[in-house]
Symmetry: C2
Subunit: 394 residues, 2 copies
């Protein structure tokens, strides 16, 4: 079964669970401004206004421009595909009238960007289209359906993520031998990018910051491109990196210590910082199971860091991973306004999360680990081989 | 001056022209669901809720998550960059209150997808944020500003498009020697994709259909992936193809005729169809100048095709090209509902359009030319070397 067939089928079940009669994904020129959900509904971009309709009763329909019709038909995921030339309105109105749904779920959400694929202009167009048939009052957010569709990973999705993790770990092992004092952050990043290319993989995010490489104290912080700063002895180096396999991402961070002249191990303050991070990651993982809220998991790790005397990390403890490195709605995050309601979503079986606390060791650099776990019935299982030891650079 | 510096400066002038006091681009996790306008405002994706503010008085500000702050500062396009940790709300409200704009333009549009970058969920968030400071009634669509920013191409943008056109033409010339009866559409596409790669270019759109290759009668129509259909003598072959240079696209179509055994020229019905297309393209081009509506240009080409006894083409005559192969708002299109008001926008100096009528020659295939023009004060100037002759395959 293809991804699209599998996801359309999964959606039907979710509609019953979340009490929505008809799920309507509405998009146009999706290469410009596409709904991130479209990848589960169509094998490629669509051009003119397009509607993908999945009913609670299992009936499905796509209404697309004439030139996209055959491509969508080939996906063999819909009972029918309507190809129009002049207007999507009549076929859409006709179909919705026939289904007569009490609740029509559409892809918008204030709290979850991944469920917020409908643009405001398209919302207005859809509202006007449904008002003409007296159904404007039936629109509801499909957030719960879209979230679950992305978050409850199928075996195939988990296999792809595991493959992406394995390849990321292999490249981290390889670059550990390339890091030597005097090399620049940018050179290290270029080495890894070449490995990505050589293995015919794609970086998991914007190649300007994938990998991100930070060495020593006073780095720019996350999401910044690698610089011409040279690796120095006695500094901590950390990297954030991931790849994509079949469209599914990994997202891992590793911390290295560049041994000073004559040193055979990291100094105590670096070891203590690293041990604190390892403890925080493991405590968080042990707290994760279906039903728990992310805000509680975040608090456990955050407290370990602050109790040890470090400043709290200025971001969430962990996020979901899927087709995007930041995916899904539920978040292992603090109750900060920008995170909306995401930290209060209960964890569910099949979710894939990162755990990534950080702290600064003054004069040395930033210590951070990011490992990935799968939420199972019995708790969170490692998807990556968790970093338990500092990687020492001679 | 960088693209971002140039476009922010250009935007200031557009705000006065279109009577908007403050232009506010609001986005989050832009790698997932980004506003297509962001590329003119930031050097890469942003993560947390981010606001880019350009004032009619020339004052500018970016409000972004802490981890994006340094990247945006490096772009040196804003008077100030605020990096926040917990909430974008307070810094945004404070800045907007200080500016006290009568009209706040935001990126939504029913009629123009390229100006419709704000998601509905983010619109609701922004509305609530501005309601708290009593400014919710000041929101207007920034469509005219965003359109003009994309459509009035700078010299640098035109140079990139010209370079993309040149490279596309070179690959078309090369593939003409590769096409022989018996080769499949997919093989021809693969040859072109390899040329794209070899020249370190990127395809202008989804590589599954860039190039699109259609041979003989009863093809799937535009936007369909190349198939295992073999090139046959006596058939017409057409291809749709473009590349990107510095983020700017080309989009060209060429028609080939595969000579039958003993033929030295195409048969009369193919020549007549091709001549009709050439005539339609040239008549449309001659009609294009600033102030003319696209609907009038479309009608001229459409009438030439139907007067010659062919069915009208089921799409617009031409679209703008820019950072996307389908870009801008103004369209050379018919008054069909799905095209909204786009065909009624007046052409302006600096717009780049395709002209791409098509017709079917029964039993032979689809004849179509797509060439590109730049609207100048004195009319439309070719950006591509227009196809005037069928390319004959021995």
């Amino acid at each position: 079964m293809s991804l699209i067939q599998e996801k359309v089928k999964q959606a039907v079940g979710l509609l019953a669970e979340f009490d929505i009669d008809l799920w309507l994904t509405f998009t146009r020129e999706s290469a410009i401004n596409g709904d991130p959900t479209l990848v589960f509904l169509a094998p490629g971009p669509v051009t003119w206004h397009s509607a993908f309709l999945v009913g609670r009763d299992g009936r499905t329909r796509a209404i697309v421009g004439l030139y996209d019709q055959k491509t969508i038909e080939d996906a063999a995921a819909y009972d029918g595909v309507t190809g129009y030339v002049k207007s999507f309105k009549e076929p859409l109105q006709e179909y919705v009238k026939a289904v007569a749904p009490a609740k029509i779920g559409i892809n918008f959400s204030e709290g979850s960007e991944i469920c917020d694929g409908l643009t405001h202009g398209l919302y207005l167009t859809l509202l006007a289209t449904l008002t003409e048939i007296g159904m404007e009052g039936r629109l509801v957010s499909a957030e719960k359906v879209v979230s679950a569709l992305r978050e409850r990973k199928t075996a195939a999705e988990i296999a792809d993520i595991k493959a992406a993790v394995k390849r990321t770990e292999a490249i981290f092992r390889k670059v550990a031998k390339f890091i030597v004092p005097g090399r620049t952050e940018a050179e290290i990043a270029a080495f890894m990018s070449a490995e990505v290319k050589r293995r015919k993989l794609a970086p998991a995010w914007d190649p300007a910051t994938c990998p991100a490489v930070f060495s020593g104290p006073e780095t720019a912080g996350a999401h910044y491109a690698p610089t011409a700063r040279r690796i120095e002895r006695g500094h901590v180096l950390n990297m954030d990196f991931g790849v994509k396999v079949n469209g599914y991402c990994s997202d891992l961070q590793r911390t290295f210590y560049v041994l000073g002249e004559g040193e055979t191990d990291a100094p105590d303050e670096v070891k203590r910082g690293f041990a604190t991070i390892v403890e925080a990651v493991e405590a968080a993982r042990r707290a994760m199971k279906p039903g728990v809220q992310g805000v509680a998991v975040d608090a456990i790790a955050r407290k370990i860091i602050t109790d040890a005397g470090y400043a709290e990390f200025p971001h969430a403890l962990g996020h979901q991973v899927g087709r995007f490195p930041h995916d899904g709605t539920a978040l292992l995050g603090p109750a900060w306004e920008k995170y909306t309601q995401k930290p209060y979503q209960a964890l569910e079986e099949g979710m894939v999360f990162t755990i990534e606390p950080r702290l600064t060791v003054p004069g040395r650099g930033v210590v951070t680990i990011e490992d990935m776990v799968l939420v199972t019935k019995r708790g969170a299982a490692w998807l990556s081989k968790p970093q338990k030891d500092l990687i020492l650079i001679q």
